[in-house]
């Protein structure tokens, strides 16, 4: 029997607000253990949470970006369980009424567009972190307690492991584009749970699902979905049934392992968080947050294609990093070269020399555009352009001035090139004869000789034209 895969995702993203969600502690990664804590995030007796307005605003922006309904009146709930990294023994989250519900994300670009429904986005606090010391003791670092999170929950609308990857990449892009989250995977600031089920093709009801918890990378999520689909398919094809369970994804062994079954499912005893009361967002604020939303990656990709004539692939590559796309558009604003040419330089050479990363050799976008203009106009060969690019950062000169100073500019002057060509034709009678006898390959040799005679600066296209005219004429 043929089976269809259905994957739903729960994406957790740490927000990059200045402070934690319920207290004034700094929200920062990498501080010495237990230095970014206070009575509130440590859950000391008598301490009370106060909801950060910045967290609300950022979550609403993400909701807008995913076309969600914003529930202007919502509340927070306590999700209760015991664990040493959870100081209050409950996580303040949202259960019954999430901040955002019923949106969607359209995956487009080079591929067939797919619409993934977003069931909800809710806000919650992160827990601390257990650290296993070499001496066997387990220590707890509470710095991460109260770091704001949003959880984005999709419908089971992803039907291939690759779609899981596309979706997560697009979500990450949007989070970065909005400045909502840094999505630093290595810091665990974006993680996801992957819910996987299979059903016979054409069946209406979803099959029993397994949940793979706490996957830290996009590639991990893709591999987990693929592995789990294969595991379930094998069970079903052998006439078995899928146990509803929670499984752990082992990214090193590249397989999922049982964690707990449905019978062991925790009862979180949700109830409304009495310390915070009802959250009411003014309509005006919700509207303003929508109106001030920046251009989203998908829109930007479309616009880069139409406005600058770059390919779909180049647009996607440029938009993959908001800083990169911004750099490109700043360069284009100089009005010196075509989008294609500038995109080539950015995506090929500048990225290779890490020229867009902070602290690395950096060239102002207008200067790169000036360089691109030189190559586009044939004043500079591609090879000479690379030499120029490497020398530009430490030079205060414009690309044109530096190219002249370094002697990199191509010789385009027909008269000068014609005199070189005449000399080469005189010096190499044999290839000339060969060419005239129909061996047109000999032209390449003659162009090469002309290039050498011009000290490498002659424009090969112009030389080729002049030589052809002389030989054929």
């Amino acid at each position: 029997m043929e089976y269809e895969l259905s994957v739903g995702l729960e994406v957790h993203a740490e927000l990059n607000t200045k402070t934690k969600i319920f207290c004034g502690c700094e929200n920062r990664f990498g501080a010495p253990p237990n230095t970014l804590v206070c009575p509130v995030c440590m859950g000391l007796p008598g301490a009370l949470p106060v909801l950060s307005e910045a967290v609300l605003a950022q979550a609403v922006r993400m909701g807008h970006a995913l076309h969600c309904d914003i529930n202007r009146v919502c509340r927070l709930d306590r999700k209760q369980y015991f664990y040493p990294d959870l100081p209050k023994a409950y996580q303040i989250s949202q259960n019954e009424i999430p901040l955002c519900s019923e949106g969607f994300l359209e995956l487009s670009g080079d591929r067939e567009p797919v619409r993934i429904r977003i069931e909800r986005i809710h806000i919650e606090e992160d827990a601390g972190k257990l650290v296993h010391a070499p001496d066997g003791r387990t220590l707890v670092d509470y710095n991460r307690c109260g770091v704001p999170l949003i959880e984005i929950v999709t419908a089971p609308d992803l039907h291939a492991p690759e779609q899981v990857g596309w979706f997560l990449e697009e979500i990450r892009l949007i989070l970065r584009c909005l400045g909502v989250s840094d999505c630093r995977m290595e810091e665990g600031s974006m993680r996801c749970d992957v819910n996987v089920s299979l059903r016979p093709v054409g069946a209406a009801a979803l099959g029993d699902r397994c949940e793979l918890k706490n996957i830290a990378t996009i590639s991990g999520a893709v591999r987990a979905a693929a592995y789990e689909a294969a595991r379930q398919r094998e069970i079903l094809q052998n006439g078995g049934v899928i146990e509803r369970e929670t499984r752990r994804w082992d990214d090193v062994q590249n397989k999922s392992l049982p964690m707990r079954s449905k019978e062991e499912t925790a009862d979180y005893r949700f109830f409304p968080e009495p310390d915070l009361g009802t959250v009411v967002l003014p309509e005006e604020q919700v509207r303003t947050l929508l109106e001030t939303l920046p251009e989203l990656p998908a829109d930007r990709r479309r616009r880069l294609c139409t406005q600058y004539g770059v390919s779909g692939y180049a647009a996607a590559q440029l938009t993959a990093d908001p800083a990169r796309a911004g750099y490109f558009e700043q360069g284009m604003a100089a009005g010196l070269c075509s989008g294609k040419e500038l995109a080539n330089w950015i995506l090929g050479d500048l990225l290779a020399m890490r020229g867009l990363e902070p602290g690395e050799p950096f060239i102002e976008p207008e200067r790169l555009a000036a360089l691109a203009a030189l190559t586009e106009q044939g004043k500079l060969s591609r090879t000479a352009g690379k030499t120029l690019l490497a020398a530009l950062p430490s030079s205060g000169l414009s690309p044109g001035e530096l190219a002249r100073k370094m002697g990199l500019l191509q010789e385009n002057d027909s008269a000068a090139l014609a005199s070189i060509a005449e000399k080469v034709l005189r010096d190499y009678p044999v290839p000339v004869a060969d060419y005239r006898a129909g061996k047109t390959k000999a032209l390449g040799f003659l162009v090469g000789k002309c290039m050498a005679a011009s000290g490498g600066r002659g424009n090969p296209a112009v030389l080729r034209r002049i030589l052809t005219e002389m030989l054929d004429g």
Binding site: P45, G46, A47, P84, Y90, D267, R269, P274, G277
Partner: protein
């Protein structure tokens, strides 16, 4: 009269007239504490050294001719579930016996700013769960009027300290009557303000949606003074709000002509002790004779209030007390094999029976199988009770009821079934469920010579009206007698 027996209002006046010093006031109260504590046990921790320093500062300021803040030099007791920076805050529990908060509760900050002198931390039922102050691991507090009787609870230590002169006034907390019931049992005034009018920041939570910091004092005006000093919005408590109309102590005590007082007949029938019902009705008639109007009101869902209260308060308690797991602070059982046994043993050994009972009850009512039948139903019933009060307030300005169905009971009574004890909250819990302000005022003595209390409940933020009506009553009857200050001595030959 000894300084410790004076009201805060009088002491403030004396201090400003240089008729006494803050040091003299403090010395009087601490000598009173030394004299009474062996019998009374109203305090868990007495902070005399720090208090004398505070008093000395007040005197310095007075000598320098500076303007004194409103409560300068007045000794105040603090219930031991309000955090005090550097002073252990135990909740009368083994769980927090060694807990020293790194911060002050908002109300303590405000009192310190107002110049009050902290006498110490008063005894209570463990985690404020109880009505007799007997469940403290530090031993019970006695009723100052009769050592063989309970002072009520959970703010029994605060009530006993105020009644006996071990403090001029005190802060308590009231989740279902924990300020008003002990105030009634000890013959003092007790106020549970509107939910949200006083910051809960630093009040160790029992049931967050019902908890409110309350005041106990020997006069209505002192109660108002203390309330004014701590009320107001606090950015650290998201449920706190700014009072629309602040209480002005100056205007209290004037006749409140035409005041409409609602009388719910159901509160005066059934299991109530006849002498208590009589005292409270007499008080109502005293006000009527002076110009108030008594209006019959119906509070039919009030009999559900007790059940609703125990479901909701236990549900929240089970959550609020989950943090005491032996991991970061508080009691940790020795030699645990693993994490699970650390949790189980620390909590089993760290909590007393009543606390465990409520945690179990609360966990049960929130569990998947019983949430709808108990928790959600109780929530709806609570909203119904609040609605009914609001409807009643269309007919009257405040509602007058007994505070408790009987006067203080014996130390050995009501120990067998927890339900017997729960019933003593039956008239007070509704105000917490509805978030309303409620005040208990002494109104004479029962057949056993123990004080009875009448309760005034008003609409949200009607503290000024409630205190005004009570102050009027106080003016009509003369200052509330302070039997605690002499009677128990006579009776027990101390």
């Amino acid at each position: 009269m000894e300084l410790y027996a004076q009201t805060a209002e009088t002491l403030g006046r004396m201090l400003r007239r240089r008729e006494c010093s803050a040091m003299e006031i403090a010395a009087s109260v601490f000598s009173r504490i030394r004299a009474c504590e062996p019998d009374l046990h109203a305090y868990i921790t007495v902070t005399e050294a720090a208090a004398l320093e505070q008093a000395a500062k007040v005197d310095e300021k007075l000598a320098a001719g500076g303007k004194l803040p409103p409560l300068a030099g007045i000794p105040v007791g603090i219930k031991d579930n309000l955090c005090t920076k550097g002073v252990r805050t135990t909740c009368a529990s083994r769980m927090l016996a060694a807990f020293v908060p790194p911060y002050d509760a908002a109300v303590c900050e405000k009192l310190a700013e107002a110049g009050a002198v902290f006498t110490g931390k008063t005894n209570l039922d463990e985690f404020a769960m109880g009505s007799s102050s007997r469940s403290s691991i530090y031993g019970p507090t006695k009723n100052p009027l009769d050592f063989a009787r309970v002072p009520g609870g959970s703010s029994g230590g605060s009530a006993a300290a105020v009644a006996s002169g071990e403090a001029v006034f005190a802060l308590g907390s009231d989740t279902g009557g924990s300020v008003r019931q002990p105030a009634a049992y000890c013959g003092v005034v007790g106020l549970k303000p509107t939910y949200g009018s006083v910051s809960r920041y630093g009040l160790i939570a029992f049931a967050s949606s019902l908890d409110q910091v309350g005041m106990l004092a020997r006069s209505v005006r002192d109660t108002a003074l203390l309330f004014e000093a701590v009320a107001g919005r606090d950015v650290r408590d998201a449920t706190s709000v700014e009072m629309a109309a602040p209480v002005l102590t100056a205007g209290l005590g004037q006749p409140v002509e035409g005041l409409r007082i609602g009388i719910p007949s159901a509160y005066f029938e059934g299991s109530i002790a006849p002498d208590v019902a009589e005292r409270v009705m007499e008080a109502a008639h005293t006000l009527e004779k002076a110009g108030a109007r008594l209006v019959p009101v119906t509070l039919s869902s009030a009999h559900d209030a007790l059940a609703v209260y125990y479901v909701l308060s236990s549900a929240e308690a089970s959550s609020n007390l989950a943090r005491y797991d032996g991991v970061r602070y508080g009691y940790r059982a020795a030699d645990c094999e693993n994490l699970q046994s650390l949790y189980e043993r620390s909590r089993s050994e760290g909590f007393g029976d009543e606390v465990k009972r409520r945690i179990l009850l609360g966990t049960f009512v929130l569990s998947a199988g019983s949430r709808e039948a108990y928790y959600l139903r109780a929530q709806r019933a609570g909203q119904r009770i609040a609605r009914e009060f609001n409807e009643a307030f269309a007919l009257c300005d405040c509602i007058l009821t007994p505070t408790t169905p009987e006067t203080a009971f014996g130390m050995g009574e009501k120990l067998e079934s927890p339900l017997d004890l729960y019933v003593s909250d039956c008239y007070t819990v509704a105000a917490n469920l509805a978030g309303l302000p409620a005040l208990s005022v002494p109104c004479g003595f029962g057949a056993n010579r123990m004080p009875a209390g009448m309760q005034l409940v008003g609409p949200r933020f009607s503290e000024r009206a409630l205190l005004g009506a009570a102050a009027w009553y106080e003016t009509l009857c003369g200052p509330f007698p302070m039997p605690a200050l002499g009677e128990w001595r006579d009776r027990h030959g101390v």
